[in-house]
Amino acid sequence: MKAVLALADGKYFVGKALGSVGEVTGEVVFNTSMAGYQEILTDPSYHGEIVTMTYPQIGNYGINPEDVESNRPFLSGFVVKEACPFPSNFRSEMSLDAYLKENNIVSIEGIDTRALVRHIRTVGAQTGIISSTDIDPDSLIEKARKAPSIVGRDLVREVTCSEPYQPTEGVWKLGEGYVDCEQTHSSYKVIAYDFGIKRNILRNLATLGCNVTVVPAATTAEEVLNMNPDGVFLSNGPGDPEPLHYAQVNIKKLLGKVPVFGICLGHQLLSIALGGQTYKLKFGHRGGNQPVLDYQRQQVEITSQNHGFAVDEESLGNDIKVTHINLNDNTVEGIQLLSAPAFSVQYHPEASPGPHDAQYLFERFIDLMKKHKKGVKNA
């Protein structure tokens, strides 16, 4: 069955329908990871996006019940060069196409994804539409133009949990799967704000001995402090941080009272809470090969990234130290508040998918909580 991907600027690609039959709009972006599509599909940060995989053969190792970052796919649409109908892997249980169908994800295959990526790189990420029900390019371009942009929208509302919960799953091990890490004693109590949280963040925290409670994005600072946490975690999530005033306000109130660690959207929200500003990148950073320099260790880590907005270095006050930068474009990748225990990174130390180079950041968070705990006791 024919399908068409059209962009608001008039460019379109004709391919074959993949996954669910239908029509969907979203911001068209690309991810350069060569594997890890299942984690990408289930990453809530992709809510509102049509994700193009730059690697041409996707679905080779199928879909398994383990490699998920949430309970379902969140992205709007999926674009690949060739989807594999015959997955081969000892953990595989279904094909990519079957999974996309099951989850009603409208997707397209068989297009020149490299041409699409080059186009996005040149003109910037923009709204697009995939359709297998309407294959008239002109009509689709028109629809893409009318579709809402992700700038200025609160997408977090649409992905955050409705009730608090306490996950106990630890990190994945070959042959063992996700080891349960229910904390029985002497652990750190962490409240994790769910702006669209990836499970692997929670798994990393649990594996390091944290007792984590995930709370909805709109949970107030007072409610959080009442839970008496050792640390607060600000999660990743979709879209523009700017309109999320409620989160910014809450974060501001938490600072200085409890150690705070933020990732991705959490990093942007922390920066805004500290008086900084964010801006939209031309086409974002999405992939598993982004080099980041850690000023403190003077080492380069290869990181997993997924963001369309970035923190403006110029906007950051004197109280804030930039701790990490992206070596490709020198954008801010990490900050630290000098006057209170809070730090954040733009990238994804939890990886999944991607390299594990930055896992040390979770330990930094633990250290921070340890220090703070001691400090509080001594005081």
């Binding site: 350069t32 041409p56 490699d67 997955p87 070959l174 042959g175 080099p291 490709n328």
Partner: protein
């Protein structure tokens, strides 16, 4: 940290001659290293014995030593040059072993030389099996169960623990020499002994077999700040059990989830840190159990490897260049990515295409060898192809191999109509055995198995190949059956058909394959495609999947919508490369292509390289202005020409590969520059060549053309035995033989070549005991300049690629040389040669015979260029592009005062069971050069460089044929005077004793034990002289020649070789061989 300033002078070790397991990838890496370090302002000293390399060009290092790569020579160079640092990680295992040996001898400490790249301890930790296993245990990474053995008794003990099948790996060897898989005790005993022998440390590792597991490789780089990045992951198509050099391999890894890939990545980081490789590239091999994902590490190379070259070409990330920069202190984040310009080397390339590498074998050269693929590498070259899908890249890779395959031709069914028929029981059995036993042909049988209705699972069970790969081949076969349904209705107005055609091209089907399926010609398919605008586009290899702009036009074809070729309107010349290395066509031709590119770039042309060999310097993205990594077939070349519209195309530099295309390209209107294809044909076509010889009144051995045995018999009777017989149009002496009698002639005509009217056989008088001479010359249509005259050491009848030769000639009379010059000039003018020409002559009884004329670059061009200091290939390129020799100031022949000897290097040790006797069929894989002012010295160097262990004292074993007995006398006497003793077989001993030369008699093998082979095996013998005549005597002495190979004893099998070898040994004893850089040999201008 920026680069180190405490180091000023760096010594780089090259890999020496091309051998199986160590090919021109190390020229690629060494050249990059030389360039990178010179750019950084370091004084670079280079040691490499291989004259066919780009790195040994005098411009690439400040001081270039073309000397044997041995610990002794390296020590001398260190003593002389006093470098600050020694970089051993870019010259393969040879460089690493040589450096280790010198480091252990204390020389580095003595002269205060620092090992950079990798220190001694990490090298040992990675290379020594016990230390490596220990290191892996420290970081809790599994290795296969294993044990070490140093002798038979230990080997027996080890196998009791491990069980069958077991893998035997000798320590410190190239390409797994002497290794293998043993399925039973008998095989094990044989392999264990062979392996212990093959190892320089007399050590083997016996391992738990993980045959059938999936095999992966990761290319890892590390800098002094402990930044580590993975450049590329590679997945083997063939399961564990086939050496990775012999496997079809694919990049990136295809069937690993991110979680599983990250296990490999984490392990690689841990491994490089634990082993402690300080800077540069390393290659780590893993096995993964497909049933549960269990991972074991197989080995690590603490250096740049063959896979690094592949990974560099596959990703665009120049591993060797970066490794060189890291070795002098740079960090990854201090080095720019050339391709994107904006970003840095501290990242992990991501690719948006699939790369397939296929090995190229030459089993036809070694018919007695076992063609089963095992853990011992047997391939001599490789081709790589890039496509947007595995299917496309796989089919492109098959036609890149240049073995007359253009896709998945059937091995079972005669024609496409048969593809649907049921197979017979016999065919089924054949298929099953072909799937089970890995061989170079298995790829094609996989497709047949699918045609024959085998299920993917069945094929997977039989072959161990991952179902993902098999399913892709199944898709190709399915597409093929759809294509066949259109056979009688190739309707170009039918949109379904047009779509199908495009899909077929996206699947990588070649025009030629489509033509075969449809029963039309390749031209028909191309015309149809062009009319329907089903055309390839070119995409860039950019390290980053288009995330950043790519400034380097490194391109591959695919059938997509957007083309990124962006051809310029500059004046441009395209050079067609040589494709995969094989015996007869290797690095020498790549050398010529690279020189062509350099030279034309210097003249202001835009240069375009087309090649598909990932090991080469020519496929480096900065060798030419534009690189098309494409198969060298008519279809692929024509499409590039169409896009680029070059002003000229050079076909005479890449060996037979582009030459074969010349006529068709010209027919298609491609502007071929240099000597015309017609002149090339005039030299190659037997009858036209004869007319040429007659016209110029030259002498040729008497000959005739036979289309059946009786014709051949008549010709042979007329011209007299022995005769040389060969099929017309042969490469590298393929199926060429010297025939001494009518019986053998009958066999040859019947079995060896199956002569027919379409495939005639050439019968030439064999000139016994003639001296063969090679000439390389330059011509511009008006002037001819002799590049070099080389006298072969071995007599005519040995393939010129296998003979040692000297420049200038060492024993030819001046009038003969003058006659050779005269004939060369006449031929060049008559053939209107523009560019290079090579001629082979034979000299007998004062007459000069013309054997062969090749109006193109020859294998000896790099050697002659190094020997004379005149870059022939560069000059010829300028001539082809329109300049004349006078304009270029090229006059007269350069006749050096020093002697350069070229010696061939053979792969016999890799092919158990193969005889080592030389003949008209070329068998060598590489060459070395020895250079000195004295013939003996130069020859000795060439032997040492070739790995021949010339003895200084000891017992020499002599067994020569009757006609050589008189000639052996003099060398024997000289050697006795130098302190050697002699043992000889009865005939030779009797003769020597009669002549008053003392020799001990030893039994021939058939005379009972103890015999000469026992003496060789027990280490009594230091040198073997063995010449033979006739089938019986050849069979008798076969075990002698095999045992000297295994025990690494110097041996000579021709009388002329014996004489030269004697001169070499005497020279070596007379004075210690001195070392001197090329730059000091050349006269100061």
């Amino acid at each position: 940290m920026p680069k180190r300033t405490d180091i000023k002078k760096i010594l780089i070790i090259g890999a020496g001659p091309i051998v199986i397991g160590q090919a021109c990838e190390f020229d690629y890496s060494g050249t990059q290293a030389c360039k990178a370090l010179k750019e950084e302002g370091y004084e670079v000293v280079l040691l490499n014995s291989n004259p066919a390399t780009i790195m040994t060009d005098p411009d690439f290092a400040d001081r270039t030593y073309i000397e044997p790569v041995t610990p002794d020579v390296l020590s001398r160079i260190i003593a002389k040059e006093r470098p600050d640092a020694l970089l051993p990680t870019l010259g393969g295992q040879t460089a690493l072993n040589t450096a280790v040996s010198v480091a252990e001898s204390g020389i580095l400490e003595k002269y205060n030389v620092e090992l950079i790249g990798a220190k001694l301890d990490p090298i040992k930790k990675a290379e020594d099996r016990t230390l490596f296993k220990q290191a892996m245990q420290n970081i809790e990474i599994d290795v296969p169960r294993s044990g070490l053995a140093h002798n038979y008794e230990e080997a027996v003990k080890v196998i009791e623990d491990i069980g069958f099948p077991a893998i035997i790996r000798p320590s410190f060897t190239l390409g797994g020499t002497g290794g293998g898989v043993a399925y039973n005790r008998e095989e094990y005993d044989r392999m264990a002994i062979l392996g212990i022998d093959a190892s320089p440390t007399s050590e083997i590792l016996v391992e738990e077999s993980i045959i059938g597991w999936k095999e992966y490789e990761l290319e890892v780089m590390r800098d002094t700040a402990d930044n580590v990045v993975i450049i590329c992951s590679i997945e083997n198509f063939d399961a564990m059990g086939v050496h990775t050099g012999d496997s079809v391999t694919v990049a990136p890894a295809q069937t690993l989830s991110d979680k599983e890939y990250q296990i490999l990545r984490d392990a690689s980081l841990k491994i490089i840190r634990e082993i402690g490789v300080e800077t540069g590239g390393s290659n780590i091999q893993f096995g993964i159990n497909p049933k549960d994902g269990r991972l074991v590490v197989i080995e690590m190379n603490p250096r740049v490897s063959r896979s690094s070259a592949l990974a560099s070409k596959a990703t665009g990330f120049p591993i060797a260049k970066i490794a060189a920069k890291l070795s002098v202190g740079y960090r990854l984040n201090e080095i720019k990515n050339d391709i994107t310009r904006e970003t840095l080397a501290s990242f992990e390339p991501t690719i948006d295409y699939v790369v397939t590498k296929v090995p190229r074998f030459t089993f036809e050269k070694f018919p007695q060898s076992d063609a089963t693929l095992t853990t011992q590498m047997k391939s001599v070259g490789e081709a790589m192809a890039i496509g947007r899908t595995f299917k496309e890249s796989l089919q492109k890779s098959l036609r890149s191999l240049e073995i007359d395959s253009y896709g998945f031709e059937s091995r079972i069914f005669k024609n496409p109509a048969e593809y649907v028929r049921n197979i017979t029981t016999r065919e089924r059995d054949e298929l099953i055995s072909q799937l089970q036993i890995p061989s170079w042909e298995r790829m094609w049988y996989l497709a047949d198995a699918i045609r024959a209705g085998f299920s993917i699972d069945q094929i997977h069970q039989l072959s161990g190949i991952d179902p993902w790969f098999l399913s892709n081949i199944a898709q190709i076969v399915e597409k093929e059956s759809v294509l066949l349904t259109y056979k009688d209705q190739l309707n170009t107005n039918n949109q379904d058909f047009i779509d199908l055609l495009r899909e077929a091209k996206q699947y990588g089907f070649s025009d030629r394959r489509l033509a075969f399926l449809w029963g039309i010609t390749e031209y028909d398919v191309r015309d149809m495609r062009h009319n329907l605008a089903v055309l390839p586009v070119y995409k860039r290899v950019d390290t980053c999947a288009a995330e950043f702009e790519a400034f380097t036009p490194y391109l591959y074809s695919t059938y997509e919508s957007e083309c990124e070729a962006e051809p310029t309107d500059k004046r441009k010349i395209m050079i067609l490369g040589g494709g995969p290395n094989r015996i007869g066509q290797g690095i020498e031709f790549d050398y010529c292509c690279v020189h062509g590119a350099f030279s034309l770039a210097a003249d202001g042309f835009e240069t375009i390289m087309v090649n598909c060999n990932p090991e080469t310097v020519s496929t480096d993205y900065d060798t030419s202005d534009r690189l098309y990594f494409e198969p060298l077939t008519l279809e692929d070349v024509l499409e590039i020409v169409e896009i680029e519209k070059p002003e000229g195309v050079i076909v005479q530099y890449g060996g037979q590969t582009p030459l074969k295309l010349a006529a068709d390209l010209e027919k298609a209107g491609v502007p071929i520059i240099g000597t015309s294809p017609d002149a090339i044909d005039r030299a190659e076509d037997r009858e036209r060549f004869q007319a040429l010889v007659n016209k110029l009144n030259l002498l040729q051995p008497q000959n005739g053309i036979a289309r059946a045995f009786d014709q051949a018999e008549v010709i042979a009777e007329k011209i007299g035995y022995p005769v040389v017989v060969r099929p017309s149009y042969v490469l590298g002496g393929r199926a060429m033989e010297i025939v001494y009698d009518v019986e053998r002639l009958r066999d040859y005509m019947k079995y060896a070549v199956d002569a027919s009217p379409e495939h005639p056989v050439l019968v030439d008088k064999f000139l016994q005991n003639a001296i063969e001479v090679d000439v390389d010359a330059l011509a511009d249509g008006r002037d001819v300049v002799i590049g070099g005259i080389m006298q072969h050491i071995e007599e005519a009848g040995i393939h010129s690629g296998d003979s040692a030769c000297t420049l200038p000639p060492f024993s030819l009379p001046e009038d003969i040389i003058a006659e050779i010059r005269r004939q060369t000039i006449e031929l060049a003018l008559e053939l209107k040669v523009i560019g290079l020409m090579n001629i082979q002559f034979a000299v007998k009884d004062g007459d000069v015979y013309l054997l062969e004329v090749n109006p193109r670059a020859s294998r000896t061009v790099p050697f002659v260029s190094k020997a004379t200091g005149r870059p022939l290939a560069q000059i010829a390129a300028k001539v082809m592009a329109g300049k004349n020799l006078a304009q270029l100031n090229i006059y007269g022949e350069i006749i050096p005062e020093y002697i350069s000897v070229k010696e061939a290097v053979f792969p016999f040790v890799k092919f158990p069971g193969v005889d080592t006797l030389l003949g008209p069929e070329m068998k060598s894989t590489g060459e070395v050069m020895g250079i000195d002012y004295d013939f003996g010295n130069a020859y000795a160097k060439s032997q040492l460089g070739a790995g021949v262990k010339l003895p200084r004292s000891g017992k020499i074993f002599i067994s020569v044929k009757d006609s050589d007995k008189e000639a052996i006398l003099e060398p024997t006497k000289k050697l006795i005077a130098a302190g050697f003793t002699i043992v000889a077989t009865s005939g030779t001993a009797t003769y020597l004793n009669q002549q008053g030369v003392k020799s001990e008699r030893v039994n021939k093998v058939k005379e009972g034990r103890p015999h000469c082979v026992d003496a060789i095996k027990s280490g009594e013998i230091c040198l073997v002289f063995n010449t033979t005549l006739g089938a019986e005597s050849i069979t008798d002495s076969y075990s002698i020649r095999r045992s000297v190979i295994i025990y690494e004893i110097a041996y000579f099998t021709t009388m002329e070789g014996i004489k030269a070898g004697t001169d070499g040994i005497l020279a070596m004893l007379r004075e210690n061989l001195d070392v001197k850089p090329l730059q000091e040999y050349y006269p100061v201008i």
